[in-house]
Amino acid sequence: MLGISKTFPGVRALEKVDLKLNAGEVHALLGENGAGKSTLIKIMTGALHADEGEMRLDGRPIVVNTTAETQALGISTVYQEVNLIPTLTVTKNLTLERQLRRFGLISWRGARQVARQRLKRLNLDIDVERPLGSYSVAIQQLVAIARALEENTRVLVLDEPTASLDANETELLFHIVRDLKAHGIAIVFITHFIDQVYQIADRISVLRNGRLVGEALTAELPRLKLISLMLGRELAHVETRPTTHAAVATGEPELAAEGLGRRRTMEPFDLSLRAGEVVGLAGLLGSGRTETAKLLFGAIRPDSGHLKFEGRPVAHNSPGHALHAGIAFCPEDRKAEGLFSELSVRENIILGLQTKRGWLHRLPHDEQRRLAEEMIKALDIATPDADKPVGQLSGGNQQKVVLARALGSQPKVLLLDEPTRGIDVGAHAEVVTLIRRLCEQGLALLVASSELDELVAVSDRLAVLRDRRKVAEMAGDDITRENIIHTIAGT
């Protein structure tokens, strides 16, 4: 793939990306969320069309319009969300697209044979008549690969195949990947697990914000370099750390977690948030940032440890309790967890304060207006009026509305999960400035983010997470990109 570009409305998803796949090589495609991996794969498989650039197979330019055409050319994909039907048998899943027919009826005997043949290529011997759902996720994943593999398959794309596999299952999968590789198939391996990249990949390409930021043989790319490539640096606006950071707050913590954790979600951790202080939360995707914030908010129920709010132990096991205590939370996935797109901007904003007041003490309409107007002005939310449905606003403004709701509930502790996710550069800087301003006003803040520069810019203290575990805490001038990257890499 050469010079592939793709623009979505408002976003440049890919900017002249090259990707060269060699036969018999496992090529890891890495990058944080929104880096452009999925877009690139979708273009490669014909699900999307590139605005610029061309694709070549064996040196000849190819033009593909549908996924069926790419499959015919020998490019197959196994998506992250296994797109198989668990209630159907393995046979039916494997022959869903083209059924063998005899006299116009489906020949199930023929289908079973085809199914067994397909599995045999992966050295997999299972009962093809059992429902797929009765097998482990690993087997399901292999069946998905079996379905994607055709006789003529030249390129196989595996999108996060190991996301829900344990170590043994991953090893089984890798065994098969190595086997396929030996058969001369080029494999694209997308993952967030750095360890696995070094186990299996021969070559690595790193995407960031739609650009190819690096391509190298695995052996020539040390971990540290890889992680700094992935997390990158937005050269345009490196924020200098404000001098106020020196005066780290020393008061009693507003909110303190002691051994707080939940099995399979987050290892027990200690963390304290003080008034007038921003605590950053760094870590790669899946390292437990969101889980940490949700545990503090009560949106995930802890099964160990406890929380102290203003020195007193609290057992808030629901967001409602947390909100009443004075803790507010802005979720990362604002469409799914933050916004009421049918409701107006005003209703979205006042909901936080209204919830705190309870249903019997409805905010009078005038007061609702005032609060909404105040927030629209303070956060510079671009909306023609407060009664517009919030679903019609742009992403950055929606984010600000969610933030406005949290602020409207007059919290003492504010937990922000990816406050700048999916918003443009201008709004990005505004949000960062806003976070510092709120901190100066005496709020205790937690900022979980995948943007290192953002964290370095806002944090007074910073906790680093790796593999759902808090591995380090740093403060003041120790918070640097290099330090964070070293800690995440574990070197």
């Binding site: 949106a299 629901s318 967001p319 009443h324 979720p331 933050g338 209703e347 919830t355 249903w359």
Partner: protein
């Protein structure tokens, strides 16, 4: 002069533009199409049936077809109001017709046992609330899908009614109750009591939904339950309350219908009324996807359905046609509300006129 002209002209242009904008705002307002449909139905009735709009005083009370429509619309409108609240939370309550059966059977039984009639009224409403509480328990606490959860009571409710009848061996027991029948078929000065009763319940509901924050909470839970949870709303309690409200409304509808027929007839009372209630909500612009509650519009939806039923009866069409005609008119109202359909019609008209 020139300065005057230059100031006048833009305002004139602005006025026409304002008018156009205002027209478009009106056309886009959700109330327009249902109201228009109701108006068309009434006007058509006026042509078909002479004296349709006549209201006269007879035996000290108001008489006339319009009054009759309002009178008959009370029980289905009550169900529809409760339904609109439930649908606003992205739920549905299929059990309302069966709740009426249970309430009716309870009333007949307690009258047979000789309870004071005011106590019976309270018991009847309590039974409605209890049914709502059961549905709320299944939906909000056990997290069963609303359509299945309320199907349970829909199926079993009429059976429960029959069993209550069996307690004292009453088969289609008939009864007299000055209090209950006064609420249902009586009148205060000129106005039927049930209209006053309905107005009172509507007002209570409206205050509850629009003058407390409950409405906003219900709508936010229906719009995005996960976000409501993160905003600190107790989503279970809110969902629970919606089914309680629906049960409350069905309880009152049960009192009115049972007193009207003087008997408990669990098998056939208010048959299919849950479907009319859902239809009324949808005609009133409510979406089964949840997130919005329109009490006033639901009332108009219920009126459209009742006007239609009455019109068909009056028109002298063989009763076999009733359901079909009703379906066609309802389909038409829904088409009017569909943006896709309206746009398709507009573009078709434009293409043919060109």
């Amino acid at each position: 002069m020139t300065t005057e002209e230059s100031t006048v002209q833009p305002t004139a242009g602005g006025e026409t533009r304002n008018l156009a904008v205002r027209l478009r705002t009106i056309a886009g307002h959700r109330a327009v199409w249902p109201l228009l449909a109701l108006a068309v139905l009434l006007i058509a009735d006026g042509f078909v049936a002479p004296g349709f709009f006549t209201i006269r005083i007879q035996e000290g009370r108001l008489f006339g077809t319009l009054i009759d429509i309002l009178y008959r619309a009370v029980p289905p409108a009550l169900l529809a109001l409760g339904m609109s609240v439930v649908i606003g939370t992205k739920g549905i309550d299929l059990s309302v017709g069966s709740v009426i059966a249970v309430v009716g059977a309870t009333i007949a039984w307690r009258i047979h046992e000789g309870d004071p009639h005011l106590v019976i009224l309270i018991i009847a409403i309590a039974v409605g609330l209890l049914c709502g509480a059961w549905n709320g328990f299944l939906v909000a606490v056990l997290d069963i899908q609303p359509i299945i959860a309320t199907l349970i009571l829909m199926v079993s409710g009429r059976g429960i009614g029959l069993m209550i009848n069996l307690i004292y061996g009453g088969t289609n027991p008939s009864f007299e109750s000055p209090l209950l029948q006064g609420l249902s078929v009586g009148h205060i000065s000129l106005i039927p009591t049930r209209l006053i009763l309905f107005a009172a319940i509507f007002l209570v509901l409206w205050l509850l939904i629009r003058r407390t924050a409950l409405g906003l909470f219900l709508e936010s839970v229906g719009g995005n339950a996960a976000a409501a949870n993160h905003a600190g709303i107790n989503t279970r309690l809110i969902k629970y309350s919606a089914y309680l409200i629906s049960g409350f409304c069905a309880g009152w509808a049960g009192v009115i219908l049972t007193a009207d027929t003087h008997t408990s007839d669990p098998v056939s009372v208010a048959l299919f009324s849950e479907l009319d209630a859902i239809l009324a909500v949808v005609i009133g612009g409510g979406s089964l996807a949840g997130g919005r509650i329109y009490l006033g519009m639901t009332l108009i939806g219920a009126l459209i359905i009742q006007t239609l039923t009455t019109s068909i009866l009056m028109s002298g069409l063989p009763p076999e046609y009733n359901l079909l005609v009703k379906a066609v008119v309802v389909l038409f109202v829904l088409l009017l509300q569909s943006n896709n359909f309206r746009n398709a019609v507009v573009s078709l008209v434009r293409r043919t006129s060109r």
